[in-house]
Amino acid sequence: MASKKNININLKIWRQKNGKAKGQLVDYKLDNVSTDSSFLEMLDQLNEQLVSQKQEPIAFDHDCREGICGMCSLYINGRAHGPDTGITTCQLHMRMFKDGDTIYVEPWRSRAFPIIKDLVVDRSSFDRIQQAGGFVSVNTSGRTIDANAIPVPKDDADKAFEAAACIGCGACVATCKNGSAMLFVGAKVSQYALLPQGKVEATQRVLNMVRQMDEEGFGNCTNTGACEIECPKGISLENIARMNREYLKASIK
């Protein structure tokens, strides 16, 4: 049975007027937070409090609030998406915190994710990586072969799905001590490399996506494995290894 109670918390939240301004951590106190609330509902509550005091509320990204759109971010107490695993910030619940806790809330930090305001960052670098090769070049006529014409081994399909489950939130970059995006790119490369439909363009895809990734200023993978632990969708490091293989194959072709 869920235990319903209210807690009082202290918050240290990064405030920054815009991309050019200097930012700093600002202290807030928030009382009567239901432990059944999600972390973002807690921030809603804080913002209501700020608006009622005619102060400017804290800007943070969020949308679906069910862990699938990948819009919410936040580095909470030193961890991407906070102290729980396998979830996004919108699925983090206040029952993970204790009465009187001090909670640090910071934006994703990466050269490739510039800050827009407060906790909001610009992740369009991920879009550009996708645009460089994250697709199968097939026109949308619907006049392709029948969906069942090429059987795909269940194991491959399952692995492709697991890679494709990436929500592009950027937690991997945020949590990696090197600010590397290789889990994101590895997942995308893997999804297509595992499916017969994606194999045709495999060489160009991996070369182009990695080139774009490097141009965006992401760091390098040193296999610490932090991304896999913090990934809300549990994307496996195996996908990075597969990308490494694909890249090697493509490079010596």
Binding site: M1, A2, S3, S34, D36, S37, S38, E41, D44, E48, V51, K54, Q55, E56, P57, A59, D61, D63, C64, R65, E66, I68, C69, G70, M71, Q91, H93, I116, R123, D127, Q130, Q131, A132, G133, G134, F135, V136, V138, T140, S141, G142, R143, T144, D146, A147, N148, P151, V152, K154, A157, D158, A160, F161, A164, A165, I167, G168, Q191, L195, Q197
Partner: protein
């Protein structure tokens, strides 16, 4: 105004083919001279933008999120329907067509629905070619599952993340076009008005949400694919940013708004837990394949459960009321959504609800039977014909985990309860809006050059949408309908040349937007935007929700009108116009929700019948089933905007003619 649905002549199965053959074309060399704006990048928007870009048009696509990949189509869980008949259980285009019409309680347009069923198979082919990793069987073939309101297995899926996979497929096609320079993408941009020149849609005014800049964008055609308006209820399964603004702005510019009262309340959502709650989370309909819905038979048991004195597992089998199986033995737990939702409400209203919240609204979704069945199957499959009870339970739970693992985890994270051990608590929540901008067969609104696709239009689902059909419609509109019909419209525009953005029409539209923003920011109010949104939501849920009656609806109309006045007087919007300002964004959206809410109540009030998701308490039979009035209400109710006073809106009727399906009472018993 006479509504012309432009349904082609001929037999239902030939209408679309014939129509396509006769549509005008734009030659490849002329397409680069033509600009198209697409607002929204969900399944319909992304698919349309990608397809039109691919054809060679200049496409500008807009989304308010930080990336087109985040549109709320991504949250669809269960699957997508297609009449492939891979399972050899008697499915066909006709049957999908029939099921959809019947599921929509005979309030959808036949020709549109048949077209949808026709192209459904192509969607699956297309998605597989794009690398969408659908679930497969061991033989390498695509797997299917059952969904509500059907008796065949035609739902394709990718675990509980089908919408995500389909959206990412469309996003990848869109990304390819962006990379090739054929689509220009505007992330974090919100359309705030439509610009009409000589009566035609010729551009939009959009706000750059990062800089606050008000931008003018011109085009030869504008496609609105901005999704549904479920957030008018504040609490819904929609994303926080989902809004009606783009659709409402074109309504204000002359596009009729059809059937606004048709809202789908999804039966399996996690119940409301507190006042700070910001949204409701859906548990996929696919769970009804394996779960059995029940409440206690005895009121005192329900009371004891709510008081925390009794656990659901302690209620004996004979003391459980599996009310869907009892009332609808043919479809059982897989009745359509509106039916399942109402049945749950009926039990809770009667005092059998089990959730310990303010309203006691909640029923159980129980997997224990399935655990036993599947556990036994798994044991036998492994060669163990004499499994112990523990073994069966263990194997059964493993089966469940494989099938629904992510949903179960999601449930546990939110509620802190383990659904493998204790039944899930669920209750209906606002999920989808069948109503939307009125469009003809070509998906064009009553404004020439302004097309509307996906959930934003009203066209295919009548008064209730079947599960796994929204994804189908979004992609069908975007990939397979709009490329033809938009080209047909644009064929007359090859000599038009670039549309200037310095015309008086653009000046005027920009002024409207800027004035509204300035009014909000300079308003001397004291209450937050959410304060008003929550109050609107309560009125809507209580009076324009699952059960509606004339008295409540009349109250709602006047209450919302009053709320609107108070909103403009009392709302406080902090910050400035030239920066990222989420409160301002919300204020602009809520302003439109309030107006829409009033129209929904008016629409529900004029429709003196019960059909699909629209349940008027005055119109039900002795068993509590919906009573449709085909003689008087077999029409699409399309409203015309008549100025700021919403109560002045004028109703136009498009008669629904059923030539190929015999209308019958909807029966799932």
């Amino acid at each position: 105004m006479k509504l012309d649905s432009k349904i082609p002549e001929g037999h239902i199965s030939e209408k679309w083919t014939n129509h396509k053959n006769n549509l005008k074309l734009v030659a490849p060399n002329n397409r680069p001279k033509i600009d198209i704006i697409v607002v929204g990048t969900g399944l319909a928007g992304a698919a349309a933008a990608a397809s039109l870009g691919e054809m060679g048009y200049n496409v500008k696509a807009f989304c308010f999120q930080d990336s087109p990949r985040r549109a709320h189509s991504i949250a669809a869980q269960g699957g997508i329907n297609a009449a492939k008949n891979y399972q050899n259980d008697g499915d066909s285009t006709y049957r999908l067509f029939y099921d959809t019409i019947k599921g929509g309680d005979y309030r959808a347009r036949e020709a549109n629905v048949h077209r949808l069923a026709e192209v459904s198979g192509n969607i699956i082919d297309q998605c597989v070619a794009q690398g969408v990793p659908f679930a497969r069987e061991y033989g390498g073939m695509l797997d299917n599952r059952s969904f509500g309101g059907t008796q065949v297995q035609r739902t394709f899926y990718a675990a509980g993340q089908t919408g995500q996979q389909l959206l990412l497929g469309a996003y990848s096609a869109l990304s390819r076009q962006i990379g090739l320079g054929r689509v220009q993408m505007f992330n974090r941009h919100e359309m705030l008005d439509l610009v009409k020149v000589d009566g035609k849609a010729r551009g939009i005014i959009a706000r750059n949400l990062v800089t606050g800049e008000i931008e003018r964008h011109s085009a030869h055609a504008v496609i609105i694919a901005s999704g549904g308006y479920g957030n008018v209820y504040f609490l819904s399964t929609n994303a926080m940013g989902s809004n009606v603004t783009a659709a409402w702005k074109i309504h204000r510019q002359g596009a009729l708004f059809a059937n606004p009262c048709f809202v789908q309340i999804h039966p399996t959502c996690i119940p409301v837990h507190g006042t700070n709650q910001s949204k409701l989370t859906l548990m996929s309909e696919s769970l009804r394949n394996s779960g059995r819905i029940w409440v206690p038979k005895k009121k005192e048991d329900a009371e004891a459960i709510r008081a925390g004195k009794l656990k659901p597992t302690q209620i004996a089998e004979e003391d459980r009321d599996y009310f869907l199986e009892r009332r609808y033995p043919a479809f059982g737990n897989l009745v359509p959504r509106d039916v399942a939702s109402r049945a749950a409400k009926e039990r809770c209203d009667a005092g059998f609800g089990i959730e310990a919240n303010d309203t006691n609204e909640g029923v159980y979704l129980d997997f224990s039977t399935e655990i036993q069945n599947k556990g036994k199957q798994a044991a036998y499959a492994a060669g163990n014909h004499n499994p112990s009870a523990e073994e069966i339970t263990r194997l059964g739970k493993k089966w469940l985990e494989e099938k629904y693992g992510n949903l179960f985890t999601m449930y546990q994270k939110i509620t802190d309860e383990n659904p493998y051990e204790t039944p899930m608590k669920i209750y209906p929540a606002v999920h989808y809006t069948m109503g939307g901008v009125w469009v003809d067969y070509n998906l064009q609104s009553t404004i020439p050059g302004c097309f509307v696709a996906g959930e934003a239009n009203f066209s295919d689902h009548g008064a209730n949408r079947l599960g796994a059909s929204a994804l189908m419609q979004g992609l069908a509109d975007g990939y397979f309908v709009l490329p033809y019909t938009v080209s047909n419209y644009l064929a007359d525009d090859i000599r038009t040349g670039k549309i200037s953005t310095s015309s008086p029409e653009f000046d005027e539209a920009e002024k409207r937007v800027k004035d509204q923003i300035n009014n909000f920011l300079s308003n001397n109010g004291s209450k937050s935007v959410d304060h008003f949104h929550k109050r609107l939501g309560l009125i809507m849920w209580n009076k324009v929700g699952m059960g509606r009656n004339a008295e409540g609806l009349k109250e709602a109309v006047s209450e919302i009108a009053a709320l609107r006045e108070e909103f403009y007087k009392e709302v406080y919007v902090p910050g400035s116009a030239d920066e990222l300002n989420p409160e301002l964004e919300k204020a602009l959206r809520v302003a439109d929700f309030i107006e829409l809410g009033q129209l929904m109540a008016m629409d529900a009030l004029q429709r003196n019948e019960s059909c699909g998701g629209h349940f008027r308490e005055e119109y039900q039979d002795a068993e509590g089933e919906t009573l449709r009035d085909d003689a008087n209400f077999s029409f699409v109710g399309a409203w015309e905007y008549k100025g700021d006073d919403i109560s002045k809106e004028e109703l136009h009727k498009e008669e629904l003619k059923y030539e190929f399906i015999k209308i019958a009472a909807r029966n799932y018993k």
